[in-house]
Amino acid sequence: MRRRSFLKAAGAGGVSALLAGCTGTGGEQTTTEASGDTAETTTTTTEGTTTGGESPTLTVGTYGSFVDAPSSSPGPWLKETFESEFDATLEWQTPDSGVNYYIERALRGVESGADLYVGLDAQMLVRIDQNLDEALFSPAEGLSRLGDVNEQLNFDPQGRAVPYDTGYISLVYNETYGDGDFVAPETFDGLLESEYAGALLAQNPTSSATGQAFLLHTIDAKGEDGYLDYWASLKENDVRVLGNWEDSYNAYSNGEAPMVVSYSTDQVFAAEAGEDMAKHQIRFLNDEGYANPEGMAHFADASNPDLAAEFMDFMLRPEVQAEIAVRNVQFPATTTAELPEDFAQYAQEPPEAVTFSYDRLQNNLSDWTDAWAREFARK
């Protein structure tokens, strides 16, 4: 079985090393594999054998913390459960640049090398469609549980990405800050008050998911024409936009500022770590939270499209949805999931969820972010 999956991977585009060895001169390890027609042949052959009885390998691309977070991540449980039920091997791929890795492969004319990607959002789809002429993902068809997905979370009009969980970006604030009676403002306008000068930590929208969601939320709240002025005022009020969520959360934890842009599930972690809840209060500005549903889609050149579809259906099962939600500390994407009590107690949902549709983001996302960056980085 080992040897079979090995051949398979090589045929599918080569994660494993086939003819690995040293060249006499450079000392670097080079892997040689057939391309073009030969590769096609190999793929066909291995697929032929696949149906012959031995279990196939499902290669799933995702982001690192989905399979390997220090707290908890759904990856190991998913692999174990899926493999125990299906006669297949699940292999996680976690390229550093996430979905960009697969876009980059497609741009360079290289096969995707995976069957499925887990962790897409609307912004990524826009980026994919803007940069690739040919389809990277295929529409999800024939899933028995597609109907269970919360209608509002569907973010791909072309039906490629199927949501499997969702999160809300909100403010997390520290009541004990200063004199011990800090209260976060209730509206976006409130953030501009002088009492909140230097009080908010946000993230770079060009490199961080929370930062991007928060920027989009301000665009939704202040309009396409008003958000830059709003950010100019935020900058005036000493908002801190740091590189990534880790930087800003570290600063928040050290008491540099009383508010940080983060997830509305923050208290789940706080409860788990036994932290003071007063330091982990949630604020939905304008009573809204920006929803960022995460989706999965199978690659157009997946070598196991049927198995990929089975995996997607598996991901939408009520018990799997609950596990993903708890382990990824997000909300389920289906209406059928049953969450444990304590999770519901600490994971807060906004009175109203806000999100930009794919159509709205298309042709706008880059421009919005660009304009923001040029405004905010003006010295």
């Binding site: 001169t25 390997d68 996680w92 492969r105 290289v110 770079n204 740091l242 590189g243 540099e256 880059s366």
Partner: protein, 571 residues
């Protein structure tokens, strides 16, 4: 084979060895650097396969990019360089002219900042210079008003000094220790007072190394990125921040153009420095180092008291900038969510090691990989660097260009190199219908060596240049091949430089992130910095614990490199 013919074969090999290593260096550079980088830079000058200047012109005509980004980047790099010199030169003075307990160890540990992942530095700095940090608590304890250092340009500059002052200190210390005491004695005998002798005799011998330190610091801080955003914020964005943003947005033409401009500036500076270094070369004697004195003076004069006070003040600053941030990180690794002491973070590492899935990052393999890659880098980068130094000190047509090309790995954005490695090596190149891919452990070692060997070259070349060429010629006329002359005569005489370069090579390898994560296929080849990044979560504990392991392992390896290296040099 008879003894004589073995001898002959060895001799023929020896005679060609330098050429061979130089050729190999060229191949490694081409495969792991020039080709990958070219695949990215091409986007700046080619649109649909046709050459164009449009993307670069667009940036050079943008006031935003020119003034708000490029000029600002240069400005912060300049200030960072000054700060690094201010913080690093006194250390070089202490390390080379004074004797105190733990001097060798301390000197070995100066390399530590080099390997610290930026998130660790950010954690340490927030804990030290933040609103509730050590500095402000100390200030309020003595009744002084707090300072707001975080999220300012100053914070970035101090952090850059944290990274680069040790670099300055190390290269200048090496040069200072190789100043021949006789040159000073000669100057003194000719009537120069100590200050004058320093200015006229010692300083000129130190300037090339100060130049190296300053140039490298400028180039590194010019391309700084994560630390800028972690401690400054996006309003202080540098070129590299935008390179990264544009790459993430797949706006390659713009990203590549920014990177090209960034590289041109850095390369120009490198070329200017190399010209200067070449003009500074003078024949010098072999090491007969200046005497050291005790930090605590044997007799107290106003002058010696002033000096001791200065040293104490400097020690205080070093404590604040280096020791407290690192100590804060160690503290963070043993602090629980409730603020109490805990070993939970280390327990997490142990548990992950014991029960982690095959696709997850485990601490022990990360440590072993890091050490193996570091050892590999040492073995590859030191010969590469030494041979390049030999070439650099030779005269030939087009040497200036070769020098600059050899130094280019310093000058090109890590993001660009990473993207290039992805395109050129991970995805592979079609050669006659066969796809050649270069990944895995050997590729990582080669990539680390590419980043590390210029350090060896820059540490060794100035010392080489000071050697009398007649030494090698004498050896050769006595029957030594060029390689033997290098090994028997030159290397022992420039050994301090070789060890200094080797330490950098190890540090570069252990600290490297951008290329490693791209070439590390699957979970098999991840290193300590990658583990630190993987263990980052909402709670910093696990990552800081891994960071502490990284510091521990690195410290131990540096003590070994320096001690072993030093001892070997004495043999």
């Amino acid at each position: 084979m008879s003894r004589v013919s073995v001898r002959r074969v060895v001799r023929v090999l020896e005679q060609r060895l330098l050429t061979l290593v130089a050729a190999l260096t060229a191949v490694v550079l081409l495969v792991l650097f020039y080709y990958p980088v070219a695949t990215v830079f091409a986007d700046a000058v080619l649109v649909d396969g046709r050459p164009t200047v449009e993307p670069i012109a667009a940036i050079l005509t943008s006031e935003f990019y020119l003034v708000d980004i490029i000029w600002f980047t240069a400005k912060q790099a300049f200030y960072s360089t000054l700060a690094s010199l201010a913080l690093g030169l006194p250390a070089a003075w202490l390390f080379s002219r004074f004797e105190f307990r733990g001097r060798e160890t301390l000197r070995s540990l100066t390399i530590l900042p080099f390997v610290m992942p930026s998130i660790m530095v950010a954690i340490g700095f927030v804990a030290t210079f933040g609103r509730n940090g050590t500095l402000n608590r100390a200030l309020s304890a003595v009744g002084l008003p707090p300072v707001e250092l975080l999220f300012t340009l100053e914070a970035i500059i101090v952090a850059h000094a944290f990274y680069n002052a040790p670099l300055v200190a190390r290269v200048v210390t090496a040069a200072w220790e190789s100043v021949d005491a006789r040159t000073v004695e000669t100057a003194r005998s000719l009537g120069a007072n100590p200050r004058r002798a320093f200015r006229d005799v010692v300083l000129p011998q130190l300037l090339p190394s100060i130049g190296v330190g300053a140039t490298l610091t400028f180039i590194f801080t010019f391309a700084s990125f994560p630390i800028v955003l972690a401690l400054g914020g996006f309003q202080l964005a540098t070129i590299e921040v935008f390179v990264y943003s544009r790459v993430r947005d797949l706006a390659y033409a713009e990203a590549a153009s920014l990177a090209v401009i960034e590289t041109v500036i850095s390369i120009t500076l490198t070329a200017v420095y190399l010209r200067y270094e070449a003009s500074q070369r003078s024949a010098g004697g072999a090491a007969n180092p200046l005497p050291r004195r005790s930090v605590v003076p044997s007799d107290w004069t106003p002058k010696s008291a002033l000096r001791t006070a200065g040293i104490a003040g400097y020690a205080l600053i070093v404590g604040l900038v280096f020791v407290v941030p690192i100590a804060s990180m160690v503290l963070a690794s043993v602090t629980g969510g409730d603020g109490g002491f805990t070993l939970a973070n280390y327990a997490f590492l142990a548990e992950r090691q014991a029960t982690g899935a095959s696709f997850q990052v485990k601490p022990l393999p990360a440590i072993l990989n890091s050490l193996a890659f570091a050892a590999g880098t040492l073995v590859v980068a030191v010969p590469m660097g030494v041979v390049m130094a030999v070439l650099t000190t030779r005269r030939y047509r087009g040497r200036g260009l070769i020098d600059v090309l050899a130094m280019a790995p310093f000058a090109v954005s890590g993001i660009v190199v990473g993207l290039g490695l992805l395109r050129g090596l991970v995805f592979g190149v079609d050669v006659l219908g066969t796809r050649i891919r270069v990944t895995g452990a050997l590729a990582i070692v080669a990539a680390h060596a590419v980043g590390a060997y210029p350090f060896v070259t820059r540490n060794v070349a100035p010392l080489f240049a000071r050697l009398d060429g007649r030494l090698v010629e004498s050896a050769r006329s006595l029957g030594a091949t060029r390689t033997r002359a290098l090994v028997d005569i030159e290397l022992p005489l420039v050994w301090t430089g070789v060890v200094a370069g080797a330490a950098f090579a190890v540090a570069i390898s252990i600290g490297e992130f951008d290329s490693t994560i791209i070439l590390a296929e699957g979970a098999g080849s991840y290193t300590m910095p990658i583990a630190v990044e993987r263990f980052l979560g909402r709670r910093l504990g696990p990552a800081t614990a891994m960071g502490c392991l990284l510091l521990l392992v690195t410290s131990a390896s540096f003590l070994v490199v320096d001690r072993f290296g030093g001892r070997w040099g004495e043999l």
